[in-house]
Symmetry: C2
Subunit: 464 residues, 2 copies
């Protein structure tokens, strides 16, 4: 049996017309009369399925097929007929249908609308629905686009560790990773838990960022990126936060904040273009049924020169609209989503980089500007969701970095290797972090992070 | 400044001869006399560096440059001169050298040989050495090759979760993931630790495999793969085991063990070819200094038709050599590395798939063969290391799977969703797991897993 995927049927239908093909997939719907039946067959290779026509005259097992429940897996061999006048461009007239796996009448994905909440409870089956099939194909395409972009631009892909003995930013709640038996915890002489007897002989956690290790790699390869899972143990029930998510963190040496922004802009445009080119059926579905402005918004990003504005300038722009904000803006306050969306949607009408934030509201490793008040940080804001990327130029000057660590009450001895990078051939360098789920939400219009992760882990939930 | 990477110099040296270029990198060695100096500059973009020639006559800061310590970061602008008679095909005659970051005389990577053990203690700097620079470039290229192979073959990349409430194989020690305070553990009425108050409201661990979730995805997309971190909490001090490592797990629907083996063979050949084509300098280095048989062995894999033999046949072959084995082979015993290497190196002289192992020594989800004694498992053995891939056809028959779970004392209620896949349109399906570090070791000849992971996590060690 030479299997052909439905995606290939769409790509090659002109040549395949009149030919015999074999397709494998799952029945989305089955309709039949006494002599003639129709199956909407989907195999996940692309958004669209193919209509299978089967006839009592031609199939010895016609009755068995007609009785199949929705969700059954079948292998169909038949002639592909072009149907230029019908809704679908072609159909397959079956000469043989083999039942690979039956389904039962209680199959949860009957042909009706289900709520997203319900579908989350059957995460093992929901990839067989239109929405999730499209979402995870787009997710896959976007992931490949990320790798392709960085590979073509000479970046080394760096696998930074997930289990860590330190907390990257000195902030953010973390998950403990341990093999100690909680019923029988070893104790030190003074009664504390003795982590020297734990697997790694010390207390370890799941990382919140691979940045510091990526900086080590950038000081050898010049251009590197990470793309891997990241964790936050913050109790949150919002639509935007998961406890386990994927993040992309490029890091570039001999580069400043301007180079960092150029990289972020090039990457965003490349990924969006790639997904629109590669998954047109999926994007069209999302544009029609999930988010009517999706395609316009994505095209706007691809075709814009991203704006650049300093935090100080942004605050002046926002203050003019303070009366309409829930949180009033003033220099020194962090920007909220309402401010970010106002800037990118109302003021600029396109993506905008906001740079040079007050040092008090940003991380210790961001480079102190000459004004002594701001750091070379950057957030990329995009219409529709606000912040999608956060980055900075890193502090490469040893003494200033040490002072900043003191200000943040970080122990130098935990960061000896990070400080070493400034002693031995340190360079100007910069990088950013892109939350991959936020990108997929942006590419699909899906509003809840639980619906772009195949098996989401959120506060209180780790099913499947 | 338009920066050119050294890799681009090698690729375009014919056109660049006589032109002015700017390169950025780190000084590996610096030699100077009164009027003339030489720097071996490396930027990590490829294995080779470029020789910088600098002259007192031309550089106002000649003395500063001559005094630089090894490891300093510099930006060099100068004329590229082809030197067809010299050891290196070109050099750069500097018209300007800017010091980006100095180094100090205690820079640990002076021009001398260091032991691998010592270099592990400076994992933040070792990517600047020949061996590790090459190892992590090969690692990056191999990762890209994996993604490229599956993408070009229509696979969906599935991100399966790392935090899990269940243990995939009912075996293997796992790390606990928790936010409970060990000094103040909540207790249930009967005094046990109350995991309902933990972050996920139950006990959770780090996954040992994404296979079961990948099977869910395969039942929607037909062909999927995972590529992500995986964990083992087994105390092990061998050269081959890390607590955190990366794994690739493809899963294919409407497919049997034969399809699975074909996929594994195609993937291995593709990845090896890609890395040999993309990193020729690196592979040449490993072949010369790390493992003299490397290139021959890789070529042998690429050019072989992999052999296929059943476990039962393999045991017969091995028994003839039992006198030379530490562990004697008999039907029913698991194969040790000595047996695996003997088979692939001595008996077949090329990669060999061993199939159909006794059901007692394999996992519960592997498909029971008609003989009732063996399962449709497969290991791929390769010359040099033995087992590199383990896979199987999965048990798609509900009743048999339920019986197998009973045999393995697994609770059905923990796998309700996995069993659902057999109720609703289940198909023949198969997959395998490839340990990515083992692949990188195979591609480089590096013997210790600690040296192919940028920041290894092993028993007792989670530095950086």
């Amino acid at each position: 049996m030479k299997r052909t995927e439905i995606k290939e049927l769409y790509a090659g239908m002109e040549e395949l017309g009149g030919k015999t093909v074999t397709v494998c997939g799952w029945a989305r719907t089955i309709r039949d009369s006494k002599a003639l039946g129709f199956i909407d067959l989907n195999d996940g290779s692309c958004f669209k399925g193919v209509q299978i026509v089967f006839e009592a005259d031609k199939l010895p097992n016609y009755k068995d097929i007609a009785k199949l429940n929705v969700g059954s897996a079948i292998v169909v061999t038949g002639e592909l007929l072009l149907t230029p006048e019908a809704k679908q461009p072609f159909e397959i007239h079956a000469s043989e249908i083999i039942v690979e796996g039956t389904s039962t009448p209680d199959y949860p994905l009957q042909k009706k609308r289900h709520t997203m909440e319900y579908l989350r409870t059957i995460a093992h089956l929901r990839p067989r629905t239109n929405t999730f099939s499209a979402a995870f194909r787009v997710r896959s395409a976007a992931a490949y686009a990320i790798h392709k972009f960085f590979n073509e631009n000479g970046f080394v892909y760096a696998h930074t560790p997930l289990i860590t003995g330190s907390d990257c930013e000195g902030a953010g709640e973390m998950f403990t990773v341990t093999t100690l038996d909680p019923e029988n915890l070893p104790r030190t002489e003074d009664g504390a838990v003795d982590y020297s007897q734990d697997f790694f002989q010390k207390h370890t956690s799941l990382t919140v960022s691979g940045q510091l290790e990526a900086e080590c790699m950038a000081m050898a390869f010049g251009k590197v990126y990470t793309f891997g899972p990241t964790f936050r143990a913050e109790k949150s029930y919002t639509q935007r936060h998961a406890a386990e998510f994927w993040m992309i963190e490029p890091e570039i040496a001999f580069a400043d904040l301007q180079d960092d922004m150029q990289l972020a802009e090039d990457m965003m445009k490349f990924v969006i273009r790639y997904v629109m080119d590669t998954c047109p059926q999926d994007i069209a579905f999302f544009n029609q049924f999930v988010d009517k402005g999706l395609v316009d918004r994505l095209n706007n990003v691809v075709n814009s020169d991203f704006a650049r504005v300093t935090y100080t300038e942004a605050v002046e722009l926002l203050k003019k609209n303070n009366e309409n904000f829930e949180y009033k803006v003033d220099w020194g306050t962090d920007l909220q989503t309402e401010h970010e969306k106002y800037l990118t949607e109302q003021v600029f009408g396109k993506p905008v980089f906001v740079t040079d934030y007050p040092k008090e509201i940003k991380a210790f490793y961001m480079r102190l500007n000459d004004d002594g008040k701001t750091v070379a940080a950057v957030d990329l804001l995009v219409p529709g969701i606000g912040e999608i990327i956060g980055g900075s130029q890193r502090e490469e000057r040893l003494e200033i970095l040490q002072q900043r660590m003191k200000d943040f009450q970080l122990e130098e001895e935990n960061y000896w290797w990070y400080l070493d990078l400034r002693k031995y051939g340190g360079t100007k360098h910069a990088g950013f972090g892109l939350g991959f789920e936020r990108l997929v939400m942006y590419l699909t219009g899906i509003a809840n992070i639980r619906d772009v992760l195949p098996f989401p882990r959120t506060t209180g939930t780790a099913e499947f």
